[in-house]
């Protein structure tokens, strides 16, 4: 990955090439500092994956929670999304590896927050949480299918990570 480093507002290093020696030490440090500044700004938005930031995902989660925190939010008797599910979903989002695309976030009629990753026809992986330290998951990978439930508290279960990597392999 390459990073474009802006020169406006900072001292642009002079790229003197003298007898093949490249930049002087002071100029090199300025380049390093400006690269670090750009990276720091990127990390300020916490995670950038496929154009979606972590903050955007958390905002999307909040909207889903607000829209579906009442009983019968779908007109078919859907259970309200409890605050615990919202909290747990937020924790899960923050734990996602930066190499994994931010998922589509939905509410499920069982009162769970769902996350869906889709990579074309026949390649989909979904998980859901309800605030009970449990992740329910299911996936289709071509002719292969999987489903199950994993305990979740401090780290994303390896089975979930394995299936996400499977989707994007």
């Amino acid at each position: 990955m390459s990073v474009a480093v802006p020169c406006t507002g900072i001292d642009c290093p002079s790229f003197r090439v003298s007898r093949g020696e490249g930049l002087d030490q002071d100029s090199s440090q300025k380049v390093v500092d400006s690269v670090l500044e750009v990276i720091a700004k990127m990390w300020d938005s916490e995670t950038i994956t496929f154009g979606h930031t972590l903050n955007e995902a958390l905002l999307s989660l909040l909207e889903v929670y607000k829209d579906c925190s009442q009983e019968n939010w779908d007109g078919y008797g859907a259970l309200a999304i409890p605050y615990g599910a919202y909290e747990e979903a937020g924790k899960l989002i923050k734990l996602l590896p930066s190499s994994i695309q931010i998922p589509e976030i939905t509410a499920e009629p069982t009162g769970e927050i769902g996350f869906e990753w889709r990579r074309g026809k026949g390649q989909v992986f979904v998980i859901s949480v309800r605030g009970k330290n449990r992740i329910n998951y299911a996936g289709i990978f071509g002719d292969n299918k999987t489903h199950g439930s994993e305990y979740f508290e401090e780290t994303i279960p390896s089975e979930i990570i394995r299936n996400l990597r499977r989707l994007y392999s």
Partner: protein, 94 residues
């Protein structure tokens, strides 16, 4: 995903014109005070292939998809299997 009752409401649309199909959707939306955004069309055969059942009732053209498994993750798998076979149609101008 099916609702907590495990009866997923559907309407049979075979033989209906497009505007008649959309009208059913609008009527359902009005009754539940929701806005229609789109619909998902699926063949009855796909429901049967997913080892689910179609239970018709007295409401004209209405049925429920039933026979969902007990386990939450198994329900989730069947739901995405159906979604893969369904065709999403968004409301025009929506």
């Amino acid at each position: 995903m099916p609702p907590p009752s495990n009866r997923l409401s559907v309407f049979r649309i075979l033989g209906l014109a497009e505007n008649e199909i959309w009208r059913i959707g609008y009527e359902v939306g009005e009754k539940s005070v929701r806005s229609l955004l789109g619909r998902a069309d699926i063949k009855a055969l796909s429901v049967i292939e997913a080892e689910l059942h179609i239970d018709a009732d007295d409401i004209p053209r209405h049925a429920d998809i039933i026979g969902w498994p007990e386990e939450a993750s198994a329900i989730k798998l069947k739901a995405i299997e159906l979604a893969e076979k369904a065709q999403l149609r968004l409301k025009e101008g929506g």
